[in-house]
Structure formats: C-alpha cells, structure tokens
C-alpha cells in the first residue's frame, strides 16, 4: 500500500473546509430533533388512539426507512407535488429531514430513559400537587437525563455522520467531499484517513463533553459507593 502522506496533508484543508457544513446541519437538526423528541415523549402519554397510531407511524417511518430515501422524497417528491417546495434549499431540506429522522430515534432513547425513573418518584410529585407536566419537567426528565445521555450522544454522533446523505440534495459535507475526492483521485485510503481523523477528533470532543455531563447529572447515586465497586470489580 503506497500511502501518500504528502497527499494527505495537501488534501486535508480541502476536506476540513466542509466541516462547518457538517457541524451546522448536525447541531441545527440535533437541537430541533431534541425539542421534537421531548414533545413526542410527552404526547406518547395522551390517551388518544388516533394520536398514538400517528406517532407509531411517524416512529416506524422515520426510524425504519433509510434517510436517503426520506430526504429524496422530502426534497424531490414534495417539490413535484407542491411547487412551493421548489424554493426549499437543499440545506434546509437536509435539516428538516434529518431533524424528523433523528427525532424518531431520539424520542425512543428518551422514552427508555424516562421509563427507568421509578414510578414512586412520579407518585410523590403528583401527591405533592404537581401536574403531570410539572412532574415530568422537574422530577422525571432530570432523572432520566443521566440515563439518556449515552444514547443521545450515540444518536447525535450518528446524526453528525449522516449529514453526508445531504449530498443527495447537493449539499456537500465532510464525508461527501471525502468520497468525491477519493473517487476522483482514487486515493481512497488517504482521503478516508483524513475523514477518520476529523470524525475521530470530533467524537473524542463529544465524548469528553458526554463524560462531563454524566458526572454533572449524577446526583442520585452514591458516588463514593460507585467508586468502591469499580475498584473491586
């Protein structure tokens, strides 16, 4: 394998240039998806069959089918049916599509975490006169947060990587650029190596943030006890 380190150095900035696109789409969609997922989790408890059926469809559709296809239909399908959508930029369509997509699996991550909060905590809140929403806001979500962090970070990293599908709408991010350069120069190893470095560093940073967050959110367990168990295991 004749790995050309000079080429790597030469090509690095041309790939890195697209990092802002990746980050913008990821953070925008991530934020919107978080909001949506919290709403979905709350709506999940509304006792309406129709609403639940709609939510189930939403969930199965967006987490089940490939994102490319979703974007494709969103961007091209809608544009063919409703001409106003022709003015939608590829970037906006990517953000909308990825938000919907991410909200579907993030909502499940959050629902799982919410389930982990002991029902007695909810009962205590209700008995103290809080409404269900208040209980969720002040008691359940804060306790679920610690549990949800690892999976939400997974989801976010997944989202960050999936921004490359926006290339199907002509929006070029780090990975799209990487593939394209690799495809034209046939120096896949070099280009992919650059991508690996960029994504790895990003993930490392996110991972550090994750650890900090988990520590910060961990107020419900005996930290000392936990430390002891580690040193024994």
């Amino acid at each position: 394998m004749n790995f050309d380190i000079e080429y790597v150095i030469r090509v690095f900035p041309t790939i890195l240039k697209y990092l802002p696109v990746t980050l913008e789409i990821a953070f925008l969609s991530g934020a919107i998806a978080m909001l949506l997922s919290v709403c979905i989790v709350l709506l999940r408890r509304v006792p309406s069959r129709i609403l639940q059926a709609i939510l189930n469809f939403y969930l199965d559709f967006f987490r089940g089918t490939p994102v490319v296809v979703q974007l494709f239909f969103l961007y091209y399908g809608l544009a063919q049916l409703f001409p106003i959508f022709k003015n939608l930029s590829g970037f906006s369509a990517a953000v909308i599509g990825l938000s919907l997509n991410a909200s579907s699996y993030m909502s499940e991550s959050i629902r799982g975490a919410v389930q982990s909060v002991h029902r007695r905590q909810t009962e205590a809140g209700l008995a103290c006169g809080l409404t269900h929403l208040q209980v969720m806001r002040h008691i359940v979500f804060p306790q679920a947060a610690k549990v949800a962090v690892p999976t939400l970070v997974n989801d976010f990293i997944g989202l960050m990587k999936s921004t490359s599908v926006a290339f199907v709408l002509g929006v070029r991010d780090v990975m799209a650029q990487t593939k394209m350069l690799g495809g034209s120069s046939y120096r896949y190893f070099e280009c992919y190596f650059v991508a690996i470095i960029i994504y790895f560093i990003l993930t490392k940073l996110i991972h550090c943030f994750q650890k900090w967050l988990e520590r910060k959110l961990d107020v419900t367990t005996r930290k000392e006890g936990a430390a002891c168990s580690t040193s024994e295991a």
Binding site: R120, E123, A124, L126, A127, G129, I139, V219, R222
Partner: protein, 251 residues
C-alpha cells in the same frame, strides 16, 4: 372534610379494599391500625387517586370524585387538598433537601421561589435538618429522609394530611417531636389520617382510632375504646398482641 363512600380497590384478582366507608371531620386526627398487608397504604393512596379505586367516591372539602367520571382537572384539584407522607419516604432523588420541600410550594402552590425557599428553610429548622440543606437524598440516613418527607408534606399546609407510618424510621425522641407537631397542626384545624404501627403513638395522637383488617374497617372508636375495651374479637386479638409484646417498659 373527608368522606369516603363504598370504596373498593382490586389489583387484578386481588380484592384489597372492601366497601370502605369513612368520614373524618375537620380538625380530627384519625389513626389507622391493622396488620400488615391489610390495605392501609392502599386506602391512603386511593384517597388522592394515586391508585384509582375500582369503585366508590372520595369527597374532600366538598369536591367529590368517583373513578367512573373524573377529569384530570378534578384529580389535580383533589390532590391539591391533601399532602402525603409515604411509607418509603419517596423523596425527589434529583433535588436537594431544601428543594424537596420548596419545589411543590413554588411549582404547585403559587409561592414565589424566594418565599418557597424561606418557608423550606424554616421547616428545615423545625425538623432539625438545617445542616443537610444541600444534601441529596442518597446521602441521608433513613430517619433524615423520613423527616424531609414529613417536612415536605407539612410545608404544603393542606386541608387533609395522609401520613403513612410517619415515624417508622425515627427514634423515640423524634417520635415525640412528630407527636408535638401533629398536635400543633391539629390546633390549626388540619385534618389528619395517620397509618401507624406504633400503638403508643396512635393512642397519644388521635381523636379516633380505626382498626382495619382484610381490607375492611372492623372497628372505629376513641383510643380508649379501641385499646382498652375493643368490642370486636379481631380488634381484641390484635390489640392484645400489640400490648403483650414485651410488656410495658418499667422504669
């Protein structure tokens, strides 16, 4: 103040409460005693609809609710008229001691955050936990948790207090304090329903004692009637044993 009519509760096939009728007047302190697993906690939990009764009606302070037709709003209103101390304390695990007491005040009872804090501080003084103000529940001893639970409930100053074994984790001197507290609250016309296993406590605190067995109210009367002259044989047997155990302390 509190009126329960024909209350039934089933868990699947298990019939836990049988046609319970109970009226508590304003300012009355009623103790509920009875063997383990008889449905005492379930009764309290039904009163504020944490457990939806199978049938029957609950009336607190003029608001009547039955499981057949009750709106979310009505249930919230009902719960606003009562506060509960849980058998297992059930503190909010993500809140400090102070926040545990202050949170319901500002979020559900219209206090400003500052006023809620202030009140919580004063309650903490009262229950002797001012130094644990910023501790999280996991770092509290059993008795400390129980006291925070008590503090959280009394801070709300509800019409009706539902106490589920409020002194189980407390040492005798603290039990004495809770007794004092309940007497003070009674003077302020708080209505109280107290489940307890401590016969001395029941005897000293209550205007009326209720003996429950197998999900029904077997007998109800003044402490003297129940503890000294129980009419029902089941009550007799229960009280007998209770008093028997080890005999009275002799100084």
């Amino acid at each position: 103040m509190l009126d329960i009519r024909g209350l039934n509760k089933q868990f699947g096939g298990l019939h836990v409460l049988h046609d319970v009728d109970l009226s508590v007047k304003k300012g009355e302190v009623v103790s509920i005693i009875g063997p383990s697993g008889t449905g005492k906690s379930t009764l309290l939990r039904c009163i504020n609809f944490l457990e939806v009764p199978t049938s029957g009606t609950i009336t607190i302070d003029g608001l009547t609710i039955s499981p057949e037709h009750c709106t979310k709003q009505e249930i919230y209103q009902l719960r606003h008229k009562s506060a509960m101390i849980f058998q297992d304390h059930s503190l909010f695990e993500n809140k400090t001691v102070l926040e545990n007491i202050a949170l319901p005040l500002w979020s559900a009872y219209g206090y400003t955050k500052a006023a809620a804090r202030e009140k919580a501080e004063s309650i903490l003084e009262m229950i002797g936990l001012a130094d644990k103000r910023s501790a999280y529940p996991y770092a509290l001893s059993g008795g400390q948790q129980q006291r925070v639970g008590i503090g959280r409930a009394i801070a709300i100053e509800p019409k009706v207090m539902l106490f589920d074994e409020p002194t189980s984790a407390l040492d005798p001197s603290l039990v004495e304090e809770v007794l004092e507290l309940i007497r003070t609250l009674a003077l302020k016309h708080a209505t109280m329903l107290i489940v307890t296993h401590e016969m001395n406590f029941a005897r000293n605190v209550s205007d009326r004692v209720i003996f429950m067995n197998h999900g029904s109210i077997v007998e109800s009367g003044t402490p003297e009637e129940i503890f000294l002259h129980p009419s029902d044989p089941e009550t007799q047997a229960f009280v007998q044993k209770s008093v028997h155990r080890g005999g009275p302390l002799v100084l």
